[in-house]
Symmetry: C2
Subunit: 312 residues, 2 copies
């Protein structure tokens, strides 16, 4: 095992930080490294926090960090959210609050840029979360701004996913209905002191009434993260959900499906890299590639000509 | 050439509709069909309209349809937006307005679901737009709710992309800064009679000041689509952008880059299908696959074992 991995498994922060950089740069070493730490995974609780910009996700994450630390649990945070103070995008007040944790050696925070290939950012997030798991973090919190398909898909890695909304999120609910229902294990209506909080609570509950039943009944909680209200109940529900999950066969099936999807995704990515290098170099493909680039033939026709030779 | 394609090229609506269904179902015939119509493409002006939910995109699209029809131009619309009335998701008033066009044989409207694989929806949108082009539509308008990476990427196919915002879109701008700048050819501040319109106008212009210069200077327009105000100026600017584009070498380079990306994407998708079928069947892969599914080895390790055999 490489030195850096041994250090990681001992919880060395510098090693963790360097390995995350390898993930961001899509290093070729990654496949080997991630394989080697595989047997050291599975200790962390993966918690996803998503919701529209301005829902107060970061404030909530801050509160959760504090509560976990009070229980002597270490916490890793991956922020995939351009508006998050963890990613450097928000109000001064938020940043200062966060800096409390920055000096705490039981907390490790890292942000990831959301630009780049779709599959890329999900995989990077998953790998960073695993590195934190391997480094011995008890909780790994992933914060994403949940406004699009890519962002919601990132949540597949989480044991529990909390969707944070506010009384102003009516439009978001309409737009993301299907996507939100698919990812949410728990709904939180934050800023619950604002007008319209009960209205959105009822809308969510009505939506859940119509959804197909699963063994876990999705709760809808109220919080005021900034004032620290409703947080204890949330942590209580998270604990319930995690122990439900460990007993549930749905979860085992889902885990196996996700593993197959991940395998296919990695194979696909390896194929993409391989093809990208091979196409311009080999005589058999060069002419077809040029015809596609100039628009003489369609990309489909090009692919039909190239594919059988490529896997031949 | 298949009968259905001959009909498509004559503008047969039923043929167009059936071919779009093939796209939605990811039919195996698609590659061949899209190759065969390739030489009949390139007549349509592809216009992208994107922006957050509630920005008034559909009202704007409605107005643009009316204006195009007044110039005797035929219009195809692809709505990739769960909140769009074109997709059946919005207010009764919007739907009624839209039905005016539904009885017009010079207008063809089709919505696409946004669920499914990321690459899938971009490619489906592109193919539906091309089918409309092949059917002789002069304008092909693609409407997406531009709130995430996937949604913005769909806009790559457009000649001109209009990003529609409202005085309330401050948060969106913050969140999507990089993404918006990358896709926008024209910004529109809709509902410009509302408070804060000038503020957002200035914010956008300040943001554009800081962006890298390109040969096309991105204009920021004000509209009130519901009242029909600012629409003529928008159409004028669209015309200017299209003729700028046709002369620009940037566009040619971009087109060639997109074609290569499309080719690689199609190859990748063919590989995925092929691998998905092959993995569970062939003895050489079966054991590794099972080890990944049970979590015994990591997906990365599985891929490292499988890939060399797969392309061998």
């Amino acid at each position: 095992m490489a030195d850096i991995l041994k250090k990681l498994l001992k919880g060395d922060r510098l090693a963790l930080s360097r390995l995350i950089t390898l993930v961001e740069n899509q290093s070729d070493k990654l496949a080997e490294y991630m394989s080697q730490i595989h047997d050291s995974l599975g200790n962390a609780y993966y918690l996803g926090i998503t919701g529209p910009p301005g829902a107060g996700k970061s404030t909530l994450v801050n509160r959760l960090i504090t509560m976990a630390r009070q229980q002597n649990k270490t916490v890793g945070v991956v922020a995939v959210d351009p508006s998050s103070p963890f990613s450097g995008g928000a109000l001064l007040g938020d940043r200062i609050r966060m800096q409390d944790h920055a000096s705490d050696s039981g907390v490790f925070i890292r942000s990831l840029a959301t630009r780049g290939a779709h599959g890329g950012i999900s995989r990077a997030t998953r790998d960073v979360a695993r590195l934190m798991d391997a480094a011995g973090m008890d909780w790994v919190i992933v914060e994403t701004v949940g406004v699009g398909q890519t962002e919601l898909d990132i949540m597949e890695l989480a044991h529990s996913t909390v969707v944070v909304l506010t009384p102003e999120s009516g439009d978001t609910i309409q737009t993301m209905k299907a996507g939100l229902l698919e990812v949410a294990d728990i709904f939180v209506v934050n800023k619950a002191d604002r007008a319209g909080a009960d209205k959105i609570l009822h809308e969510l509950r009505a939506m859940l009434e119509l959804a197909p039943r699963k063994s876990w009944e999705i709760p809808v909680l109220k919080t005021q993260a900034a004032a620290g209200e409703g947080l204890e109940e949330l942590v209580e529900v998270l604990t319930q959900h995690y122990s439900h999950l460990k007993k549930s066969s749905e979860y085992q099936d889902q885990a196996s499906t996700l593993r197959q999807a991940e395998l296919e995704e990695i194979l696909q990515e390896q194929f993409r890299k391989w093809a990208h290098e091979k196409l311009p170099k080999e005589k058999a493909f060069k002419k077809t590639l040029e015809e596609v680039l100039s628009g003489k033939i369609s990309a489909y026709e090009g692919a039909l000509k190239i594919f059988p030779k490529l896997i031949g």
